[in-house]
């Protein structure tokens, strides 16, 4: 579950200068509740020894790791459908909620993995630093071999919209 404060921050409530109207509070809670109902969180994880991976999938900052866990996480198509069809306010709030929900979901996966694998790098997604966002396609199709999400090979865009591809490097044997 995402923190409400962060969800609101993402939705544009940057500070606590003003009172939010009752009507808006209702809308905020309605979307949170609906988000919980519509989200279908799924994740697929695979861990590879470093020497079995192509170089272009290993970020420079992962130097010294022995293995990398790749995972794809998604909240599913229902959320997308809602965002595309609701009015601007509701879809904007749902977009903000879902962005934080997928982050909270990733955080819980991250925690669990660290419990199992010990010392690791920070969580990392293609598109940042030296890994091209289009590598999402290779990771999802070649390493994770899953159809829970679809990646556009040319742009690296993932559908459902609220999906992420992540990787964490592990130092321990």
């Amino acid at each position: 579950m995402p923190q409400k404060k962060i969800y609101l921050l993402r939705a544009g409530f940057n500070g606590s200068k003003f009172q939010i109207s009752e009507k808006l509070k209702e809308e905020i809670n309605k979307i949170y509740e609906l988000g919980l109902e519509l989200a279908q969180p799924k994740a697929v994880c695979e861990t590879y020894k470093i020497d079995s991976l192509p170089k272009e999938l290993i970020p420079k900052s992962f130097e010294g790791v022995n293995s990398i866990t790749f995972f794809v996480s998604t909240l599913g198509y229902e959320i997308d459908h809602y965002i595309s069809n609701a009015n601007t306010l509701s879809s904007m709030l749902m977009d903000a909620w879902a962005s934080e929900a997928i982050e909270a979901f990733n955080e819980s996966i991250d925690k669990k993995l660290r419990k199992d694998f010990g010392k690791g790098t920070r969580r990392f997604s293609p598109g940042y630093s030296d890994i091209d966002v289009r590598k999402n396609w290779d990771i999802v199709n070649n390493l994770l071999k899953t159809e829970v999400v679809v990646v556009n090979k040319d742009t690296g865009i993932i559908t459902p919209r609220k999906s992420t591809v992540c990787m964490i490097g592990w130092y321990d044997e």
Binding site: M1, Q3, K4, K5, A11, G12, F13, N14, S16, F18, Q19, I20, S21, E22, K23, L24, E27, I28, N29, Y32, E33, L36, I83, N87, T88, L89, S91, M92, L93, D95, G127, V133, R134, N152, D154, T155, G156, I157, T159, R161
Partner: protein
């Protein structure tokens, strides 16, 4: 755990209480046995549940003793188990806590209210709680909680009983309220806080009856009324009766949605009540990711009865008419426990708009404790105004205070050490405001001497833990007939006011024995009010006096209402609140005098422009702007249907598109809504739009502005493609770009006219372009 350590802990960390017991035991198949009896029959069931609560992250476990007071157990025919049930409860909770959670002794209602709401004597109620608290204390609880209390007097009895056992352990006091913020016996949240702010409890809170969403508004009222630590235990939603059982069905995740709202209001301890389970507690634990928020509130000085709460400022009017001095008949009635005329006088003063009533039963030597107990019970039963206790005998005064449900005034104490000590001890124990006379034994001659006496005694009062807002000073009013100078009193009021003291006076003393008393009293009251007098004991049924006072209050009136944004006109306010129906009503009225086009442009359009400006200036949040936009959309549509086609729309036109390959368009949609709300005409081409389609649309629509959005690094190049194509075709249009992967430098490189980091900036830029052209 001692209270200082507990206070320190609460300052650093938000603590998690456990969840429901009764509902969980029922769920686990123990429906036909009182929950507390499980302690001795099936201790493992209690142990398992409590272990689960600890595992879920509870910092405080409650002993399974909610109804284990002797009175309740007797009702259930288990009286002989009283000791065993309570002893065992502490033992089980301590084992289950495994040293990771504090164990608080749990106490609740006796099943019968103290008088007048029930038949129980207050002393009996106090003793019941004392007995249970004693067993829990002797068996090693870390603190106490009194919860699900619906009667303020019963809650007071619990606190007095527990504090008789120990003053060293923390104590949490909870009341239960309906959605309207009143308890079953008529006490409001604010009165609960007002009375208990003075009492020797560490935490005030609310539990039961309501789910987290409904309880939030009630809890907010509590949070604004106290500076004590706060706790809350909502139910798992509303109970659902399936014809056989009551069930609470709110899922832990939905319950958890509201946790942060309570944190925002400054809650220090949060748990669950009926229907909540270890799963709920686990979710609460996960949602608490911050340190406690200490919000210090400016709480006005107030006093209360069970159902009436009044502020001391700007002026408090204390009715003087319950006083049998010179009225033999009334004195006899009181002596014979006939309080009919006392009640009548209380009610007539209430009708005359007194804020409190001074209760003086006359010659105390001929009365006993029972008189004082009875008079308070009778006045409470008749929903009296708050009381000012004018009782000389210290024992009688204590009896009355013990019996009183609200926050009283105590009239009065001299500044001699002996009198002061006794009275200060009483207000520390029972709460209330103390009126102190500006004299020790002898009446001082000058105003300066009276002030100096008060100032000399003040550090001593403060050293007893009493703050200035709990003291009201009486400057002493002496009879004019005995040649006393009234100006000394007036000057004393002035000096006391200048030194930050609240003041009161017995007005009638002034004119004793003189003709036309009400004229003299009224004139003197006017003058005293002018010197800063905060309250007076007077006759509220004296019409002349009351009119004079009201005139003074009117002249002094100075009320400032803080507002979130500068007050808007009604239409703008209603739009901001999302009140679609109300907005439609205002528009319908406007249509009686103006054409649909005028209403659309000059009324609704202007209001939305104002709201757009509020947003652009950072005075409202984006979601508020979007709510406003959603609110007016159907009304604009309605007006547009009324406007003849021949009347051209002169709005500036903007074409918007998310470029090819990009399927994320939430940002672009927000920009569209924001621009629409500022009276721009928007042609939204949608997402993943090919360059050729964007060019075609620009050719066809001839907009003032083209807005392009790209989110991905892999699609951002399409913006350049569109700009190049426009140049190639010599199409003149201002291009503004945005989106997660765009930045100012990139926009310049691509040849765009502007970059906007968000909708607010986009709005400012578009407005400036349009204003330049117009």
């Amino acid at each position: 755990m001692n209270r200082k350590d507990f206070e320190e802990l609460l300052s650093k960390k938000i603590l998690i209480l456990d969840g429901g017991y009764g509902t969980e035991f029922i769920k686990r198949g123990y429906k036909n046995i009182p929950a507390e009896i499980l302690n001795i029959r099936y201790p493992e069931v209690v142990y398992d549940l409590q272990s689960e609560y600890v595992k879920s992250g509870a910092d405080i476990l409650l002993t399974n003793t909610f109804s284990a007071n002797r009175k309740k157990l007797k009702e259930l025919n288990y009286e002989e188990t009283f000791d065993k049930v309570n002893v065992k409860a502490v033992e089980i909770a301590k084992q289950a806590s495994k040293g990771k959670a504090l164990v608080f002794g749990d106490l609740s209602s006796l099943g019968e209210y103290p008088k007048p709401m029930g038949m129980l004597e207050m002393d009996e109620a106090i003793d019941e709680y004392y007995q249970q608290a004693k067993v829990l204390f002797e068996n090693g609880v870390d603190g106490f909680i009194v919860e699900t209390m619906t009667d303020i007097k019963e809650l007071k009895a619990a606190v007095y009983g527990i504090r008789k056992v120990t003053e060293d352990l923390p104590l949490i006091a909870h009341m239960t309220f309906e959605e309207n913020g009143r308890s079953v016996t008529g006490t409001s949240v604010e009165i609960f806080a007002n009375a208990f702010n003075d009492l020797d409890v560490d935490v005030l809170g609310i539990n039961c009856t309501l789910g987290p969403e409904d309880l939030l508004k009630v809890f907010e009222r509590l949070s604004l009324s106290t500076n004590k630590f706060l706790s809350v235990e909502p139910n798992a939603g509303k109970p659902i009766f399936d014809g056989k059982d009551l069930e609470y069905k709110m899922k832990p995740e939905i319950f958890g949605m509201f946790v942060e709202d309570y944190l925002d209001l400054g809650v220090n301890i949060i748990g669950g009540c009926c229907g909540t389970s270890p799963e709920h507690i686990k979710v609460i634990r996960n949602m608490v990711k911050r340190r406690p928020k200490k919000i210090i509130k400016e709480i006005p000085i107030m006093y209360s009865s069970r159902t009436i709460l009044n502020k001391l400022h700007p002026f408090s009017l204390i009715g003087e008419r319950i006083n049998p001095a010179g009225n033999k008949k009334l004195q006899n009635e009181i002596e014979e426990f006939n309080f009919e005329n006392v009640i009548k006088r209380a009610n007539s003063q209430k009708n005359a708009k007194a804020n409190a009533i001074d209760v003086n039963l006359g010659i105390e030597k001929i009365l006993n404790e029972e008189h004082f107990k009875q008079v308070i019970i009778e006045l409470d039963k008749h929903s009296s105004l708050p009381i000012s206790f004018d009782i000389q005998n210290i024992g009688f005064l204590e009896t009355a205070l013990k019996e009183y449900p609200g926050r009283p005034l105590i009239n009065s104490s001299k500044l001699s050490k002996k009198d002061l000590d006794r009275k200060l001890e009483l207000i520390k124990k029972y709460g209330g405001l103390l009126i102190v006379l500006a004299l020790e034994e002898e009446i001082l001659e000058s105003a300066e001497e009276r002030l100096q006496l008060v100032l000399r005694k003040w550090p001593y009062i403060e050293s007893k833990g009493i703050t200035k807002d709990r003291i009201i000073v009486d400057p002493l009013v002496l009879s004019l007939a005995a040649n006393n100078d009234p100006n000394i009193t007036l000057e004393t009021v002035k000096l006391l006011s200048q030194n930050g003291f609240n003041t009161t006076m017995g007005l009638s003393n002034l004119s004793f024995g003189l003709p036309n008393r009400n004229y003299i009293n009224a004139a003197f009251l006017s003058r005293a009010k002018g010197k800063g007098l905060t309250s007076a004991i007077l006759n509220p049924e004296d019409e002349f006096l009351m009119n004079t006072l009201n005139g003074n209050l009117l002249l002094d009136k100075n009320i400032v209402i803080p507002s979130k944004v500068e007050k808007q006109d009604e239409l703008t306010e209603k739009i901001l609140q999302g009140e679609e129906g109300e907005v439609k009503g205002i528009i319908e009225n406007q249509l009686k005098e103006k054409s649909p086009l005028e209403v659309s442009q000059d009324v609704l359009g202007k209001a939305m422009e104002k709201i757009g400006d509020l947003y652009a200036q950072g005075n409202i949040y984006l979601p508020e702007l979007l709510l406003a936009a959603e609110t007016v959309k159907p009304i604009f549509d309605y007006l547009n249907n009324l406007i003849p086609e021949s009347q051209n729309d002169k709005k500036a036109k903007v074409v918007l598109a998310t470029v090819e390959g990009d399927i994320h368009d939430i940002g672009k949609n927000i920009v569209a809504a924001v621009l629409r709300s500022a009276n721009f005409r928007i042609i939204d081409l949608g997402k993943d739009v090919e360059t050729s389609l964007i060019i075609d649309a620009v050719k066809k629509e001839k907009p003032n502005i083209l807005g392009l959005s790209a989110m991905m690094t892999t699609t951002v190049g399409k913006i350049e493609e569109v700009v190049n194509e426009l140049k190639k075709l010599s199409i003149k249009v201002k291009v503004i770009a945005g989106g997660a992967s765009m930045n100012r430098k990139l926009a310049e490189t691509f040849g765009c006219d502007a970059y906007a980091k968000d909708a607010s900036e986009g709005l400012k830029i578009c407005k400036s372009w349009v204003n330049l052209n117009s």
